[in-house]
Symmetry: C2
């Protein structure tokens, strides 16, 4: 290996460059970046707009100079590779400063072009008040607009990571925000009943949240914009953030004749090698393999990009390494809540036809008797064949990252819900509980698999048959406070043993409590007394999130 060229100087490209130099002092390494900045903190951009990251310089992690002095990498910013000649093993570079073009040869090439914001085909979208957010110049443009125009109202289109973060950033700046999301939910990695907890938070913070609502067209009116929505309504706004998703930047790869997959990403093998053995590709532009299903997936996340850059360098310099698929572990802060997930969600499991069961646990971030404990709501998806953990989603104010981190490793280790019972997690009152939410989830799921408990879901409650009755085992005061399902018999769990004769023996009893815990006690009591029953997993709290309307 004599000469390595790297196209793209952010996460994956920068990691590849640094790793390559650590492996080899002799090789010439050149990294091209068409923008002005390499190795910047793109995940931090919304937080500098909000002011939470006060110093813009904090976002710039490396400079061409620092790369040169530490890694002897020739970083060429504002220079764009516009063509690859795979036969001659050369690239054509356009210098955006001088306007000149030149050729550079390579022995190995790493593509790290990233993913570009999707520009939806909406008439009139391209206005001076329309922005997407991918890099530091984008951020600077938004900051300039905010400073010069001081908008009172802004509209964010798209409820993914960047959309939610921009919604929060603009709200933080005391700008009224409308969030438009075409689908029924924000934050696609989680299922809708979990997203509904986010919807509640978003609405509670005063955001004008509009789900199932797309942007149809845009008109410039005076100094602002008029947005025409898919529901027939219209909206005046002064700033439009388009954040409907990203798509792999593949034009260079396509023009070079590299294989592109069905999802529109560059095809790579486990060594991150493209269809050309001398060319590697990493990061948001490539199609990855889902850890659990092996299916192709586009997963534009920083962690995988960094890891892939390292692996490409390892393989180029003979260290031999392979990328072990992606789980799509992700987290997002949405005002006071964090939402996170790992593995497969229910939508995906249904699509893939994998037999699964789901349970919900609402626990506490740490010992409930210690100040500052907050609810942690966990959804666990697992195989009905053998209990293998398939996915986990969690929402709450505190301790969400750690529960999903643990589950991410559990999935990677191919653990089952039975193993979750034995998880020995840190416990002291400020940090956890003697039985953590994850242990509880393990108990519930294991009980269900072993047939020791039979669970039902909100849909079963709503589709009650003549052969079933509803039993709510909460205290009457709780029903008043939290609400209740119409038609349910109410016998508090602590009175149940003495009032069994009030229940029918010829019907199936669907048990409801607040979070599913007392329901399990009631369930065991009933079946041990010869009744037929099922317990609503997650209790009324989950029932509410399933049935919430936004």
């Amino acid at each position: 290996m004599k000469k390595l060229l790297i196209i793209g100087g952010v996460a994956g490209g920068a990691s590849a460059a640094a790793r390559a130099r650590r492996l080899n002092e002799e090789a010439e390494i050149i990294m091209f970046e068409r923008g002005e900045f390499v190795s910047f903190a793109n995940c931090g951009l919304p937080y500098h707009i909000s002011g939470e990251i006060a110093d813009r310089k904090a976002l710039i992690l490396q400079t061409p100079q620092s790369f040169k002095s530490r890694f002897n990498v020739d970083v060429r910013v504002r220079q764009e590779v516009i063509a690859i000649d795979r036969v001659a093993k050369t690239v054509t570079v356009k210098n955006h400063v001088t306007g000149e073009q030149y050729l550079e040869s390579y022995d190995a090439l790493v593509l790290s072009p990233g993913a570009a914001p999707v520009v939806p085909p909406i008439p009139g979208l391209d206005t001076p008040l329309t922005f997407s957010l991918r890099n530091i110049p984008d951020m600077d443009r938004i900051l300039t607009l905010l400073k010069e125009r001081k908008p009172v109202h802004a509209t964010v289109v798209g409820g993914g990571f960047i959309g939610l973060e921009m919604m929060e950033a603009l709200d933080e700046l005391n700008i009224d925000v409308t969030l438009l999301e075409m689908s029924p939910q924000v934050m696609a990695p989680v299922d809708i009943e979990m997203a509904n907890m986010l919807h509640q938070e978003i609405v509670d913070k005063g955001i004008d949240l509009r789900l199932n609502c797309g942007l149809s067209s845009v008109e410039q009116v005076g100094s602002g914009l008029k947005l025409f929505l898919s529901n027939g309504e219209s909206l005046d706004t002064e700033l439009l953030i388009s954040a409907v998703g990203v798509k792999p930047e593949i034009s260079l790869a396509v023009n070079a004749g590299l294989a592109i997959g069905e999802l529109g990403g560059i095809v790579v093998d486990e060594q991150m090698r493209t269809s050309d053995a001398s060319i590697y590709a990493v990061g948001d532009a490539v199609e990855e393999f889902d850890f659990l299903t092996g299916e192709k997936a586009l997963i534009p996340l920083a962690g995988p990009a960094n890891r892939q850059g390292r692996i490409a360098a390892n393989n180029i310099f003979g260290a031999g390494d392979s990328y072990n698929r992606t789980q799509g572990t992700a987290i997002c802060r949405v005002f006071d809540l964090a939402v996170a997930s790992t593995g497969l969600n229910e939508k995906r499991l249904e699509r893939s036809g994998i037999p699964y069961e789901k349970i919900y646990v609402h626990g506490a971030s740490h010992a409930s008797y210690f100040p500052g404990a907050h609810p942690v709501s966990l959804k666990l998806l697992f195989s009905t064949d053998d209990g293998t953990i398939l996915g986990a989603q969690a929402i709450g104010r505190d301790g969400i990252d750690k529960r999903i981190d643990v589950m991410a490793v559990a999935i990677r280790a191919e653990l089952t819900v039975y193993d979750m019972q034995d998880m020995e997690l840190t416990y002291a009152p400020p940090f956890g509980s003697a039985k953590d939410v994850l242990n509880q989830a393990g108990f519930v799921a294991s009980n269900s698999l072993k047939g020791e408990t039979r669970l039902c879901h909100s849909a079963d409650i709503d589709a009650l048959s003549d052969q079933q009755i509803l039993l709510d085992v909460r205290n009457p005061g709780e029903l008043m406070k939290s609400g209740a399902v119409e038609g349910a018999v109410n016998i508090p769990v602590d009175q149940l043993r003495g009032r069994l004769e009030e229940l029918p023996r010829d019907k199936e009893i669907l048990i409801i409590c607040q979070v599913g815990l007392r329901g399990h006690v009631a369930y065991r009591m009933l079946v041990n007394h010869g009744f037929t029953a099922k317990n609503l997993t997650g209790g009324y709290k989950t029932y509410q999130t399933v049935n919430a309307k936004f």
Copy 2:
């Protein structure tokens, strides 16, 4: 199964009772508790003394009445089982209220007597100003003393969990505190260089910390105490907390002729069954098996106790379950720091003769460019045979629980350091880093195992031979600020490539940087240029903690 007796109504006993009833409605279940309270939050006691848990009632999780109404368990508080007749299958119960004694028969018996504070044989220790802390009456006595006597100075003997928590609680109440610890370190589950970071925090908070210092004798002088210490000094104090450890309460088991192990705990099998097939034992009183070594261990922690109670009940009622050993995962808050560990520490590995290597990583709790990031110091212990993770210890202000939780599950899943490279943890700037501390540790350990990096330790730096030189690759300003090892050549990493001729080719170069990261860059550069080198794992920061004196 007709009749189940449970001796001890806190963690393990209470869990056994609740689980037993969920499995069986018919059995008579009686739980004896010689104290006044069942199912109280013993881990919360120090925090009520400090006032952090304001409401004493918050500590009482269940009452005899709540157990009766929910689980139909006959809870008999202030009634102590004083003898077991294994042939007749009866116990003798003493009612401490009435003074009466009576017999109660059983089909199965669960012992959950817990562990009692060790009372060291120190002359004069037993004074009205001497307290240990095990239960609510102990706590109430300390609170009464604090209120009535308003001590200005208190002494805590023992730097374990309770000792450290009481030290902090008393400090919180503006009482001057001396902490006496006979060994060279507090918090025995971690190794001394990690404990030294705690020692610094404890000293910084104004605690009079005395390590390698035992209590020899106590004299009552006036309204206070004079403590005579093992180092010949003496000390006046007004309150003495004895927290030198706990030992299993086995007198009942001994008198009943049940097998007791070498460590002084009740012997149980994986089903939590004692040497008598009708008698189970759980919690702090039993000898457990270490997850990694299979060796016997005493692990007085709440999580295992709860789990064991559940398992005993499962086996009694035929559900069949076994306890899958204990890792000893633990965490403690010490002022602004958290310290946590899981698996085996270095002291233990040496004792067990297991071949291991250790590495240190000093990372950040979340993206360093996002406000509120704090250092996370991690020690990772792994098998030099195959990279199996053997233990992990972490210290820092934030994110300690989550790193050790992840490592606890990784150990239980028998993952290796290679797997740690692929861990896909939650990342967004407020929560983590694209390359988490745990990924970094995985890289360092894997590089070391694969021979891609050769590591050295602080002891190697201090035992420099003629054939070795020290190279510090930090910037001169850092050496001024943080200190440096005497005799080291200083060439900043970013100048190293141009100054290689200053280094000898016939000696081994031991490289020092601040945390080990730049040292690795320098290491790779040097070996790729034909030098022989080693990198100091954890850098100067670890070197300082190893060599700190308190």
